[in-house]
Symmetry: D2
Subunit: 411 residues, 4 copies
């Protein structure tokens, strides 16, 4: 009877909850288990090892269980090379394909474990024709003949383990709270910004137009000018509102200094777009002196790349906006590998889009006045994110302050 | 046929929307009208006058229409003295009683118009036995034999008119927005605080425990110490969390400086209450040196009165908490007449309770991270309130800063 | 001195609040007024007429005031033909351009008033070269040489007037409430659906993927099959989840009949897309028998047009998705002129996108579990919308029931 | 050196996550561990056993760690009888008191383990003078001389273990989702209602006034009449709105059948209270025929006990309302021991109040349109609750339907 398989688990499998999730999942799915071997790390520096026989109610059930256990980090004892099947057409996934997690992943080819490049969730793994490399490939990029990994055989992932040392900020991962001390949380984010740069990694800002509405434009522009932001992901709205504010002092016609709607101010939005159209691009508008301050200005002046993705509700849009969503995704993905930290501020659409492409080990902080945005981000797989329920207009000036305080203290 | 009555309207009845609401209501309710006289104020300083015949489909319909028009400020032409009926029992309202608005109100007695004292919404008007005075009386205070005003006859109200001069902050009344510039809004609130004190009126703070959770305790305590808050309305939770934080550094067991839960910190909440129990009251705990800082400390030290109202979910509660809700309401009402401005921060229960007792002319600012709290407050009649969707932990430190900046600039 | 102009107002200008808004705006903007003539409609069927001299503090201020009054329906007495200026480049708006409202609009050309076609907010008005027609034109469609209307001269709009007869549903326009009787509200929506069809107008559904998650797929498919929906506007997510559910019983891997996550169910999402890729399109998948039920199936079977607009967070997307946001907007606009009612369910992105293109007289009902979505829709100009805070999974089955009950009762 | 202690863990300690939480907490708090013995249950029916030496950085640290481990279910090897200290005054807690969880709890007295009665969270354990019984005692009931348990010595708790068999509904515990299939969720709740009654346990309804506003009054009354609800916990608002609706057809003046505000309807609220005042109580109003239908009517007719707790924002209140919050809590606690399931609908205040008093094994379902209410309930310790983001007006009629369907199917 072949509805039984052996798996093994290695590492800090108890205190990281891996053992729990594995046994739980077997029971949840109607299976059964026998623990064949269990060497527990006696001290906190020791790793543990477990060998478990998994029984399914039938062979389909067993496959389903194994597939789930794999996602918790279990490996089949009898691991072999990956099975590869050529894609039968562009963007047509083979039956039984291996669907990626956002954890670091290796595949076994010719008896060697090689790293999967550009890991992101819900992709296929495509192995190069020479079988020397493997790459996580979104469905939209799958081409006829691509060698696609099938099933979990020969695939290993490394779910995040709790670090052995107590990390200051880590305890908040996966949490959302509107009941935390605001200044304390912001101080920790400021510290992570400096630490990320110390490690030589980049910081991306994913921002929505509320940054401008709520009066955080200049604090955000300062963050960019002073070098704390390395990449900007946004939409037409953020860029247009920023230009409108910096050309006319308004955001969708509201005077930011008074909070009042300005007569005929609603036109400023279209004038702002039009001025950039006339110049040809944001860069040209900066170069020819039309745009003299703000978030987009600082990006241009400081060579900070930006990806502005179009959406169905855009006015204009600005000439810099990539209106095709697949092209915009590709452009966004170009910058992902260098990123060590992402700040997502007041935009559900772009936050989820970027979250979809991030490996699990990128520190992700999402700030929104609406806790539902944070819940949705995490539900969609960015479970490593730290959710902060706050107001962009208060958050950014306070963050800039805290960064300055930390820098001063560290001098 | 008696289903027709004449009403008159006086004042800035066009640009304050009163004329619109009156005609609209007549149509909405199935009635009809004829405008008998209409002298429109030609210039902005002129008042207008209208006399309108109102027709109802029958006499009940006409009564219903007249009752509604009254609430928009219309007066019956043939106004006579109020009709009075003695209450048949304690807390038993007579049929057809006049139910108050929160607008300034006068009643006609012995052919003279006298002001109704302590106006608040949804009360009865009780006229004194000597018929020299009238007072808005909540149902819970109605006593057998009280002379209760029946119907709108002989009752005049003054709904708020748009002021002729453009007021900076006023345009926001009745609005809620998470898309306003945060710093700008806070600056306006700071200005209103100073202006209210210049007018010799008092400022009440209605606060929830999130003031402590979000790290705003010391900014709030400073506001009290520096004299910007004159009365505190809250519950057991705010006071207990404040004491817990100032005795042990935690709020419900979370260390406010680190945002982390402290081992056994959940006991601090009960210890905090117990320490005040032991002292006998907050005041005694301050006097004997147990409580040395925080919101409640500053209240005691600066003779700022506080009303702590009990609720069904309280632990303890503190000895200063008034556990009977009717007694607590009465105590709260004692302070209402002197108040010119109310800051409601992060508490739906107490905000609505205080809002219920406020006349319409008290400037009411409500700050909450959850826009639903603001909507509910306004839906329950506090339509003059200004709603700010923000985070107490960011709001209070920023408000204190802005008050300081304004004071410095005005020197 | 030229900082004074005469305007006139005609219609139910008092009870529709137009007179109030006009006088208010003048005062708000620092101007002054004199009412030169005011004939008030004495009875509810009579219209009123007012002639008002408006004074500004200077000529710029006067222009700003006049521009605002125009948007309330005021007309300049000395109205002349529109001023036209050719656009200097593609998508470059001329200085001083007239920015449209979503109200019915006319322009005066050669002394005749002609209707502006395809009115939608925040567009330019372009007059044809032969000056026989005028069309609201989004900035993205503006071409070099187009004749663009400048300023409010020669432009008339008709803001909505309160209808004279009491309409059942109308009182809710512009309101949001989670505190209304759910069944009552749904019954009214059902009635409007039948009434819209009686008038020969079409009904559009704008839907998000929560329709599937919350279990409303089959009720929605029934609505389409039974002819209550004429056009579908959505994104990749709704269509993909619908296909996934109808092929595999899951939505993003959750079994809709049990609410539980299915092992390896996360792959179903990609399989669903892949199956449609293989077929070539949704239509072909229906034709060749792959897709046999659901929302998209019913659209294909019943020749209900759909516009699926791409977004940056899409997986796949399906071959039917229009990935370029500007192309998708154009496609969406093709269907707008025939629409009399729009149901927006659980999607902020698509709701605002469609709302942007709708004339003010289209009945717009927006249902979302999150009141912020409704607030944002209205804040962005769709002020005629009726907001319902409810759950798609409860709403659609109850709506279908109510439609059936109404139909049965009317037999 | 005494900063090391041995603890033991027994049961399904791996798959219930207990082992993980224990080791994690030690590391989080700066401690260290050595696993001395670990017998793992090889099969799913076997229990595991672990003996662990815990090292703290000093004796205070060790105490803190042990205290935390205790709450995860760890027991000290060298367990002895509990330490008892008499309370020095009413409501004054002794230093180092044991603070209860909401898990089943035992204390060791005279070498025997006895169950703690009336377990609820954040209480003290008071042992009777004869040392024969122990009872969880809220601080407000603590009296001078009461024998209070100090520290975790001699105290054992049973945190919930994952049940070995796969329970249908259980997987949702501690979760909140607006993205679940509504009908499916409601069907499961219906099933739990029937199952709870089969087990001979009682079902409590904790309800807010939105039950009336949203039109769920009669479905809720049916639930009571048909015997599905055994106890009602609410406030003045639910009862008053129910009476208002059943006497006058309105709720806070809104006609529930049309959703429109009724002229002078705001008075109905006070009339409703007044009518009950006149009768003397809800029961008398039912007995003398004044109140003939609705939620409160069915409670009286069917001898369903209700506890109506007062709050600071009440009008009236009704004579049945317990205005003192401490008296109301006591009354509420009288009914807790018999309860097997609680439905909390649209009330944050009462839900948290009841949640505070419930043992962890009571099935708790909380339904609210606002996900923040659910988050707060769980954050305050009711972590076993199942949160459903839905609309009371849709939920109750659908729940009644599902109960009827299940009953019919089981016939």
């Amino acid at each position: 009877m072949n509805d039984s398989r052996e798996i093994e688990l290695v590492g800090h499998i108890i205190d990281s909850g891996i053992m729990e999730h594995v046994l739980d999942s077997i029971l949840d799915m109607g299976g059964d288990f026998e623990i064949l071997e269990f060497n527990v790390g006696k001290k906190k520096t020791d790793t543990s090892y477990a060998r478990v026989r998994v029984n399914g109610t039938n062979s389909d059930n067993l496959d389903a269980i194994i597939s789930t256990l794999h996602r918790h980090g279990a490996r089949l004892i009898d691991s072999d090379d990956v099975t590869l099947v050529p894609a039968e057409g562009n963007r047509i996934v083979p039956k039984g394909f291996y669907s990626t997690t956002n954890y670091p992943t290796q595949v076994r080819i010719n008896s060697e474990w090689i790293n999967v490049q550009n890991i992101e969730m819900d992709c296929l793994i495509v192995v190069s024709a020479d079988k020397k490399s493997a790459c996580a490939t979104p469905m939209s990029k799958l081409e006829r003949g691509d060698l696609v990994v099938i099933s979990e055989h020969g695939v290993k992932i490394q779910p995040p383990e709790r670090s052995r040392s107590h990390e200051e900020f880590e305890f908040m991962c996966g949490s959302i709270s509107s009941e935390r001390p605001t200044v304390t949380t912001i101080r920790k984010i400021a510290k992570e910004i400096l630490d990320t740069h110390k490690k030589g990694l980049k910081i991306a800002l994913v921002g929505g137009p509320a940054i401008i509405h709520t009066g955080a434009d200049s604090a955000t522009a300062s963050m960019i000018r002073e070098g704390f932001i390395d990449i900007l992901f946004a939409g037409n709205a953020l860029a247009t509102h920023d230009v409108e504010y910096n050309l006319y002092g308004t955001s969708l016609g509201m005077d930011i200094r008074t909070g009042e709607l300005v007569s005929a101010g609603h036109k400023n939005h279209l004038y702002a777009i039009s001025e950039i159209m006339r110049a040809g691009s944001l860069k040209k508008a900066v170069d020819n002196g039309v745009l003299k301050s703000g978030i987009m200005y600082e990006c241009v002046k400081n060579d900070i790349p930006y990806v502005l993705a179009g959406s169905i509700r855009d006015d204009g849009p600005l000439p810099d906006v990539i209106t095709d969503s697949i092209v915009a995704q590709d452009e966004m993905r170009r910058y992902i590998p260098e990123i060590g930290m992402v700040l997502m501020i007041a935009t559900m659409l772009h936050s989820i889009a970027v979250g979809n492409c991030l490996p699990s080990y990128v520190l992700t902080v999402c700030v929104d006045i609406n806790p539902s945005t944070l819940t949705k981000l995490m539900d969609r797989g960015s479970s490593q994110a730290i959710g902060v329920v706050s107001d962009a207009g208060a958050f950014f000036p306070m963050l800039l302050d805290q960064v300055h305080i930390l820098l001063k203290n560290s001098e």
